[in-house]
Amino acid sequence: MEIDMQHISKAFGPNVVLKDVNFSVKGGEVHALMGENGAGKSTMMNILTGLLEPNGGSIKVDGKETHFASALEAEQHGISFIHQEMNNFGEMPILDNMFLNKEIKTRFGFIDNVKMKAIAQKSLAKLDVKLDLNQPIGNLSVGQQQMIEIAKSLMTDAKIIIMDEPTAALTENEIGKLFDVIKSLKAQGVGIIYISHRMEELFEISDRVTVMRDGLTINTYNTKETNVKQIVHDMVGRDMGDFYPDRHPKFGKVMLETNKLTREGVFKDISFSVRSGEILAFSGLMGAGRTEVMRAIFGIDKLDSGTITVNGKQVKISNPSDAIKDNIGFLTEDRKSEGLILDDSIADNIDLPSIEGFVKHGMIDRKADRDFVNLLMKRLTVKANSAEDEAGSLSGGNQQKVVLAKWVGSGSQVLILDEPTRGVDVGAKREIYDLMNELTDRGTAIIMVSSDLDEVLGFSDNIAVLYEGKLMGVVPTATATQESVMTLATGGEN
């Protein structure tokens, strides 16, 4: 199958997202689509699969002008879409999720669970996933849910598969599995549209690359004939220096120290410390318990035992409010559900943890508050028209900066960043690293949980590795290697 999208344009109200974008893919190739956050990649794919109406342009499938009325119709024509945002029903069993709106029916019109289960299991086996399909999908971790999404798409005998940031929540291990599957699909003549912010993946897996910027197609390359620098240049419209800025840490006193933190069944005896000016990375496989440790430190979840010392004083943290009072900040893994109030203004998001500080005569001093917000927005270069814009109207990278601004503003001396650059484009990523540097220069202690091993090795001072809820060790980044970290992360001795 061959798809050719020509001169696609799309506007949401007066906001023109796509001006003139050309993109094509044919069977047996992996074509990567690159662009900054908000460049319109997902929008392009939504148009292709009938979820959005284009304002102009043509879509040709095998040379024939085509228009899909719905995602279902696109799928019936062999185009499958693994969405960037998980489209799951948390309370629904995995099986029901996988077959939603395409249930297999018996002769009598009833749902045929037996047949459906067999098909689902076959598809999951390709990805080496073994799960009880009757449990609610909400029980699974984000990564596992992503694997289900992929399996769902494999089920459909698709000729073209669109993968919109499929690896954002996956571990190295699973990414490997996925790439194996992609290669075998390719061999079977399936075409893949691959969207990712991870530069190294694209060189590993893709045949062609198309870069979008400002609603236009900038260039299409054969992957072999181009390089990272070129693509980054096309994406951001200028040259960029190194991917990871240099670290010149000056460590101060210990800002946060934990002693034998335990939450039954989740993690056990976690003891570590992080100093002023230090970036301590937390690495590990998906489900190793990193997020859970951080949530417990921040008072979101209850600890069963263990003590926390902040700035030399043992503290009791029973909810985030306590943690904030102890000058801890927490950028959560899930920006949309825990990081931001999407319907509220940028300003109202940024000042929320600090709001008590702006009370004068029992009321909020609005001017001081807005000055504070504007200052932070400038310092973190949040791209928005005004502080009164809804947070939900920002691109992913800018949303992430708003969350950062909120914790910088609350005066955090210990900043926990859980997957701070997940789903963020290269330009914004670099800005976030620069900001982290600036913060540590001022003496902030940063804990960075990351599943991106490159990032962990490229931008931290020390690396703590978790495996099945146990801290396997803390190693200096300078001496760590991919292999040494992976060995720890998989339970091996160093």
Binding site: L51, S70, A71, L72, E73, E75, H83, M86, N87, N88, F89, G90, E91, M92, D96, L100, N101, K102, E103, K105, G109, F110, I111, K130, L131, D132, Q135, N139, L140, Q144, G265, L285, M286, G287
Partner: protein, 323 residues
């Protein structure tokens, strides 16, 4: 990574309640009432009880679908009254009762569809849309009946008309058959067909449902139509049973139906619940009402007891979603 998920969800009473709790609660209640008053278990009383339950149960079956989508329907009582009044008027005009019933039920479906359109295309919040139509349909009932009950010899001397709500078939009240029939149909629709799947999907995550190609608006309209239709069926039973259409029939029935659904373990946030639970929920309310009457508890205390029972059931089922 293998089977960690198995042990993830530890045993919780809430979980237990939403699976088996309603049934246990019902049994406890029945045992309690029977001990306090033996005549409760009299077959005749049980048949009466089932007949009393049938009206609320029918409304609750429709409400279950609505609540599964995360919506609510406050207009069911008014639809019941208005469609009952139509049917009574038709019978008085000489329309055969079978046809009059059918027309009444279809009318109920149409009123329900109106709710659905307001919610699906008007994008009105279900609570406020059906609050408005509750008032409108009730007003329309008063206008239509001029505030008087509709009755007459053509109703009270009409076997077919009377049989629907008052008749017995093999010693069992006819409304019980209707309730069982619609329970089976609703059960199949919810748990065995794609319509049911889509209902859950809509309540669980409407955006995702849309992405999966579910025609959300069409579904919503059908679901509210169903709720209106079943309320009208309940209205037919009531009108036939009383041989009279009361303009203020069904006031506050939505609350009993919602209570039945929630007692049955369905989450008001949508996406989670079972038809069986709703049947049990309706029975719990029926046993409560009947039992407290049998025990001669004053109506003042009856309200308190009913409220507490609802509260306890809901507190046990702590997994109710967001504040």
């Amino acid at each position: 990574m293998d089977n960690q998920t198995e042990t993830k969800r530890h045993f919780s009473f809430g979980d237990f309640y939403s699976k088996l709790g309603p049934l246990v609660a019902l049994i406890v209640l029945i045992v309690l009432v029977s001990i306090l008053n033996f005549s409760f278990l009299d077959p005749l009383n049980l048949l009466n009880l089932l007949r009393q339950v049938s009206i609320n149960a029918l409304i609750a079956f429709g409400m279950e679908f609505v609540i599964l989508t995360g919506g609510i329907d406050l207009s069911v009582g008014s639809i019941l009254a208005l469609s009952g009044a139509f049917t009574a008027q038709l019978v008085l005009m000489g329309v055969p009762s079978f046809i009059a019933f059918l027309i009444g039920m279809v009318t109920g479906g149409i009123f329900g569809a109106l709710n659905g359109v307001l919610i699906a295309y008007g994008k009105a919040a279900p609570f406020i849309a059906t609050l408005a139509t509750q008032t409108i349909f009730r007003g329309a009932t008063y206008v239509f009946t001029k505030g008087n009950p509709i009755t007459g010899a053509k109703m009270s001397n009409n076997f077919g008309f009377q049989f629907f709500g008052q008749g017995y078939l093999f010693g069992i009240p006819f409304p019980v058959y209707i309730m069982v029939l619609f329970y089976i149909l609703a059960f199949i629709l919810l748990h065995r067909t794609t319509f049911g799947r889509k209902t859950y999907a809509l309540g669980g995550n409407p955006r995702a449902a849309f992405v999966a190609g579910v025609k959300n608006n069409k579904m919503i309209i059908w679901i509210y139509t169903l709720a209106g239709f079943l309320s009208a069926v309940a209205g037919m039973i009531l009108t036939s049973r009383l041989a009279s259409a009361q303009p203020d029939a069904g006031v506050a029935y939505e609350m009993d139906a919602i209570a039945a659904v929630v007692l049955g373990g369905t989450s008001l946030a949508g996406g989670k619940g079972k038809m069986f639970g709703t049947l049990i929920g309706a029975l719990i309310i029926g046993v409560l009402n009947n039992g407290m009457n049998l025990l001669g508890i004053s109506s003042f205390y009856q309200q308190i007891v009913k409220g507490i029972v609802i509260l306890v059931a809901v507190l046990l089922d702590r997994k109710q979603a967001k504040a």
